[in-house]
C-alpha cells in the first residue's frame, strides 16, 4: 500500500515536471523532421505588391 502511494506520488511529481517542461519548451505541435523538402522562395517585387493590392496602403512610418 505504502509502495503504491509512493509510486503515485512519484508519478504525480513526474507529471507536474513534464507539464512545466512543456510550458517552457516552444513547439508548434508539429513534430517537424529534417527532410529533403525543397521549399520555393521568391522575392515579391514592389510592382507586384502595388498591383495586387486589395486595399489602400497605409505604410508604417518608422
Amino acid at each position: 500500500m505504502i509502495k503504491n502511494k509512493t509510486i503515485m506520488k512519484f508519478s504525480k511529481l513526474h507529471f507536474k515536471k513534464a507539464m512545466r517542461a512543456s510550458k517552457a519548451v516552444k513547439t508548434n505541435g508539429l513534430t517537424s523532421q529534417p527532410s529533403s523538402v525543397k521549399h520555393e522562395f521568391r522575392v515579391i517585387s514592389a510592382d507586384e505588391i502595388n498591383n495586387n493590392r486589395s486595399n489602400a496602403y497605409q505604410y508604417l512610418v518608422l
Binding site: M19, E40, F41, R53, N55, Y57
Partner: protein, 193 residues
C-alpha cells in the same frame, strides 16, 4: 496612424526562456486572453506567434479557430472584427520591436487550420517536414502585411510551399541576403517550429 486594436502589455513568462522569447498579452472582445510570443533568431530575425491562453497546453494552440456556434452564442455574427483587431494588435507589437531594433526582420508563418493539417483532407499540401503549403492564414497575413510594410524598406521573401513570409529589413540586407535568409528558414526556423 491610429489602429483599432486591443491594449497589450509585456509579461515576464518563463525566466529560462527570457532571452529567446518575449511575451505579450492582450484580451479580446470575447474576453479571451491572447499570448503573443516573439522569438528572436540570428540576424535580428523575429518570428511572431500567438494563441489563446486557454489553449496554451494544446499542441494545436497555433491552429485552433473559434467555432461559429461560440461566436453566435456571444452575440457576434462573425469573428471578423475581432480578427482584424487581433492583427492590428500584433502589428503594434511588431512596431514596438522595430523601434527597439532598427534592423529587425520579421517572419510570419500562416499556421494551418486543424482541417488543413489533417492528412485525410489536405494531404496534397502537407509536406514531409510538417509544414503546410498555402494555408488560409498565410494568404490573409500576406494581404494584411502588404498594406502596412513599404517594399522600399522591407523585401518580401515569400515561400508559399511552407506558408512563410519573411520581411527582410533592407537596412540589414548586407548580412541577411536572400540566400542567407532562405537557408536560415530551412535549416533553423522550420526545424524549430
Amino acid at each position: 496612424m491610429a489602429l483599432n486594436r486591443y491594449d497589450f502589455y509585456k509579461i515576464q513568462g518563463n525566466q529560462k526562456n527570457k532571452e529567446k522569447v518575449q511575451l505579450y498579452r492582450f484580451k479580446n472582445d470575447f474576453k479571451d486572453i491572447y499570448i503573443v510570443e516573439i522569438f528572436q533568431y540570428d540576424f535580428s530575425v523575429y518570428a511572431v506567434k500567438f494563441y489563446i491562453k486557454n489553449h496554451r497546453y494544446s499542441k494545436n494552440r497555433y491552429n485552433i479557430c473559434y467555432k461559429k456556434e461560440f461566436k453566435i452564442g456571444l452575440g457576434f455574427q462573425t469573428g471578423n472584427a475581432n480578427f482584424i483587431k487581433v492583427l492590428n494588435t500584433i502589428l503594434s507589437i511588431v512596431v514596438e520591436i522595430l523601434r527597439k531594433d532598427g534592423l529587425a526582420s520579421f517572419g510570419f508563418m500562416g499556421a494551418p487550420k486543424e482541417s488543413e493539417s489533417n492528412p485525410e483532407i489536405n494531404s496534397a499540401n502537407i509536406n514531409p517536414d510538417c509544414t503546410v503549403a498555402n494555408t488560409k492564414r498565410y494568404r490573409i497575413y500576406h494581404l494584411y502585411i502588404r498594406k502596412y510594410f513599404n517594399p522600399i524598406d522591407f523585401e518580401y521573401i515569400d515561400s508559399s510551399t511552407s506558408s512563410i513570409l519573411l520581411l527582410r529589413n533592407n537596412k540589414n540586407k548586407e548580412a541577411l541576403t536572400k540566400e542567407v535568409a532562405e537557408n536560415y528558414i530551412v535549416d533553423t526556423i522550420i526545424p524549430n517550429l
